[in-house]
Symmetry: C2
Subunit: 482 residues, 2 copies
Amino acid sequence: MTKLDELINRIIDRVNINLREPSFDVGPYVRDLIDREKFLRFYAFYGLTSQNALRFNFRECNIAGSYFLGKCSVNHSVVYKTDVRGDELKNKGDVFQSDGLRIRLHEDECIMIKDSFLVKTLIHSHSHDPENPETFLIQNAVSLHYANIHGSPVEGSFLGPFSTVDLTTLHDSVVGSYAYVQVGELSHQLVESGTIWIRSAGNFEFRYQYEPSVLEKYIETLVGSAPRGVFMDFVESRKGDFIEIFERAPSQSVIPVPNGASLSRYAVVKGDNRIEQNVLVAQRSYLQNTYMGKGANAQENCYLIDSNLEGYDVTAHGGKIISADLGKYVFVGFNSFLRGSQNGRLKVGDGCVIMPHTIIDVESPLEIPPNSLVWGFISNSDDLKVNSIDLEEFRRIEGVFEQGHLNFSGSGEKFVKGFRNRIQHILEANGAFFESDINPGHAQWGRTISFNIVQPYREGPSRGLYPTIDIRPEHEVRAGEI
Amino acid sequence: MTKLDELINRIIDRVNINLREPSFDVGPYVRDLIDREKFLRFYAFYGLTSQNALRFNFRECNIAGSYFLGKCSVNHSVVYKTDVRGDELKNKGDVFQSDGLRIRLHEDECIMIKDSFLVKTLIHSHSHDPENPETFLIQNAVSLHYANIHGSPVEGSFLGPFSTVDLTTLHDSVVGSYAYVQVGELSHQLVESGTIWIRSAGNFEFRYQYEPSVLEKYIETLVGSAPRGVFMDFVESRKGDFIEIFERAPSQSVIPVPNGASLSRYAVVKGDNRIEQNVLVAQRSYLQNTYMGKGANAQENCYLIDSNLEGYDVTAHGGKIISADLGKYVFVGFNSFLRGSQNGRLKVGDGCVIMPHTIIDVESPLEIPPNSLVWGFISNSDDLKVNSIDLEEFRRIEGVFEQGHLNFSGSGEKFVKGFRNRIQHILEANGAFFESDINPGHAQWGRTISFNIVQPYREGPSRGLYPTIDIRPEHEVRAGEI
């Protein structure tokens, strides 16, 4: 048995210890999930900018195909084709506010991944756990394809494919495939696949449940092999385009990149595309025959195909938009799947909020009125009536609201306000409002990034493992360093 | 002034302090030598194999375009397009023999580059200084284009372009362009350009001096800009081929690579080439319309063009062979320039030793008999008579021997034996004698290398500087490491 196999077994043991309750064995899911040769085939890389506090430490790990930015430590872990974006971490001296308390950071925050097995996962933002403001910890965790870990410390947990843990501290829990949780804190729970669950204690609770028969068409978790369904078919059929990009990493972009915009050299750009000022096209996003208006963005694992985005649109991590026309200020949440068709385009009006993990998959034309809140599964205009509401109407809800598979209780006003604030923050952070040196964000900073490539041992007992690598700012040297 | 400019000024001050005697100011040579944009344009990279003890530490430096293998620390230095090959360093526990003394190493040897400015230099082998067996030190040093530092600790010295310091500890000295020194130890001296000087205390001394009028046609050092002459024209006119290779770093080789051979993906391969078993084509070498027989090698900065090498031929670092036919077991020393022409091919017989820094540049056919020792400048058959001798004849020399610009004294037997042993060692180390798992060397190990890319900050006050990077084997972690 190689050292890498031993490492994987140790990770499985550690995660399972945490998951005694709920009783769950992650072994069968991960042990033979990834062909050992793939751990050698894809390089890992990290970005260097002058904006992001730099600090990387890789030790006893395989990080094949993964990308790192900011501050991150990976120990005793397998981190496969995963993006760890530490460009929104908190800095030393920052004041972190939570429940009216103010906590001043005594050192820079760092993402710490220990004893974990992560596959094609997206890790972003900063720890929202006020108890550990300096450490964004992911420990004894397994996460599968296209899971999002957003601002969420995760300990002793299993995240199914296409699941999202958002602004939530997760302990010893299992999150099913395509489930979305944004509930503050969760311990020893099993969240069913296809649950969309947002809870703000004392304010509101939003809960939607996909029908299993619908969900399994799109995503089904299999034991010991990659998941299957429409989502996987969709990304797998476009994988070749990414392999080509990663192999040649073109330094010149194929389309003009206007002032204040950035187009990652690790994004796929096919067909006829145009992007305007302050647009952010992140790495591992996919652009085909698409127009992106001023300040629109496509984050990691986004696919924008045959579509128009008028401007200031947010496509959150893993969002997919096909044959659709979006007005201004449209928000499309994590891992949402919006698919019109050639004869049935999808039109989304200005200011709409498409909730995370929404599936809109239509054969006939469908138009979503401006300022709608949209969730769940929609395949035609009847579904739309059940799974959407005018945002102003929703704002007036106080108490219980039930419609289709949605259960809401609490203050609609607070729910809508929270969302609006967050979308505004995302646009700001991404540099959508940049104007001659004012309000810069990721779109502007991304322009001067440099990429660094690291690879594992190719043979011998350490085959597939990376050497110990430590990287820090050029002025920051530890005592006794030669 | 940027931090990078400050660093360059500090290096100049430190080197000048060492060079008070001989009085020499390196400032004008290096201050504006390299366009600042070039410090950003080219990535640095390091190789990872299971054979080489790994250890890299980069701190407050620019290492643009440079390559590192093995163990190396670079502090407060500019190391530009330089190859640091630490794949022949001594290991902990090894016994180093010198003058009959046996010294056991208490830790692995490491190349340490401090307060130095190196341009397109080749650093290879291990420290031959018995006083510091664990450190191959290059400190307060400047070396210019295509200098070779081979097994030679260098302190407080200036190496001109195309010079070589071989198995020599160098203190506070200036080595002129295209000078070659292999003299054991040298302190506070100025070695004239075009001096070929080999001295083994108590055994022999070999000394050849190029005529300045001949030498300056081939290489002339200029103050504050790149050197000029035939050598520079030759490499500069082929530079574009390397830029292309470094940009796309092809993973598939363009010609078949037989068993036991290795062809670096960072070598240029143009036209119609063939290589046999156990051939080593190192990175930054250049192959065009050339045949390399079994066990032949082309080391860094070698150019083999329109030539045939029958087998077990050594082309040392920087050797150039154009329109020539080499028999078996031909040795071509460092930075030698062998140029036949379409109608005047150069033929070199079996077992010839072409001394380091030899220039053979012919318009008419020239044939060098087997087992000749050849040195100096040769443009026709008359020159050849003056600057060559049968090795068996040379072996019988005892005392003083003068011929043309060559002065030799001592034991010819020891001189020839020393060379023959060394050539045998080079072939062994390069894997020329590999046979089904026995006698592996660089040619075999090079097959499974993986490359890692590092880049500097692109903007801000640290523009052009690299972050602090520390890399060590995956099992080797320092105390207190997270």
